[in-house]
């Protein structure tokens, strides 16, 4: 499904619901989905894997990787974007998503570890 289409559909439902409730246009604008409060998502690193390995976020959201494994790992975006550098056991790393583009990332030490952030 085209994410842009889905977003428009969501907005249409909003308009219908809010209009049905008899709200004003001003309230509508203030409540638009694009003004939604940024969310924080957690990716747990354990047993040499990311959980969830695939995550869907919105621009402005923050992703936090927490290393609960026994050994160091990294969360490093392919082609730049972000790099946690060495995350020792117990350490964490935050990245705030800006661009509306998906990001594949991996662990520099363990080639079997792969993750993806979808941005919509």
């Amino acid at each position: 499904m085209n994410p842009g289409w889905r977003r428009d559909a969501v907005a249409a439902v909003w308009v219908a619901a809010v209009a049905g409730a008899g709200w004003t246009g001003t309230a509508l604008a203030a409540r638009a989905p694009s003004k939604a409060k940024p969310a924080t998502h957690t990716v747990t690193i354990d047993a040499t894997s990311y959980a969830p390995a695939r995550l869907t976020v919105h621009p402005g959201d923050t992703v936090v990787w927490v290393n609960k494994d026994l050994i160091p790992h990294t969360a490093t975006a392919k082609g730049g974007g972000f790099d946690s550098k060495v995350l020792a056991a117990g350490a964490s790393f935050r990245f705030t998503v800006k661009a509306k583009a998906g990001i594949d990332y991996a662990c520099l030490f363990h080639p079997t570890m792969k993750g993806r952030i979808d941005v919509e």
Partner: protein, 177 residues
């Protein structure tokens, strides 16, 4: 047990390694703890040598990674054994691991440059293959304590990643000759 000892001894290419011939018996948790600690230590020893002697930067880095990761796993294993009041118990598998590891390090010390890199990486591929086999066929099935079993399950994917990583390096070394 006999199976594990033989596989690991074969992987280490140690003709003199003791070939356990006594009746096969399941390993207990104290023996599993000893096998885990010894297996990690063997790879730490080889990794230390590679971090000092490897010619190619990626081989040197891999050696450093082995020291870091297997030290992390060993710390967790020792902490758990202490908590469970389990004293690691020597057994034919841990003995053959130790003997094979010592022999491997002695052999690697006679090599330099590309020959060292190739021998070390080939060995790491064989070693992680053998250790994974032991983890799957002997250690996890025989671990009776739930926390010990959970630790083995938790660290297994790291060994898979090490094997994959070593194979990737092995492929680049093969092309260099």
């Amino acid at each position: 047990m006999t199976h594990t000892a033989l596989i690991i001894a074969a992987a280490l290419a140690v003709p003199a390694a003791p070939r356990a011939v006594e009746a096969a018996q399941p390993v207990n948790d104290a023996q599993i703890a000893s096998i885990v600690v010894t297996a990690n230590q063997v790879d730490i020893d080889a990794g230390k040598l590679a971090s000092e002697r490897a010619a190619k930067p990626e081989v040197k880095k891999f050696g450093e990674l082995m020291v870091t990761d297997h030290t992390g796993v060993n710390k967790a294993a020792v902490d758990l054994a202490t908590k469970l009041k389990v004293t690691p118990q020597d057994n034919p598998t841990s003995q053959s691991l130790k003997a094979g590891g010592d022999k491997n390090v002695a052999h690697l010390k006679t090599l330099k440059g590309a020959a060292f890199d190739k021998a070390y990486v080939d060995q790491e591929v064989a070693y992680h293959t053998a250790v994974l086999d032991a983890v799957d066929k002997t250690l996890i099935p025989n671990a009776s304590n739930a926390e010990l079993k959970a630790l083995l399950v938790k660290v297994r994917p790291a060994f898979v990643a090490h094997l994959e990583h070593a194979k990737q390096i092995q492929a680049t070394l093969g092309g260099a000759h």
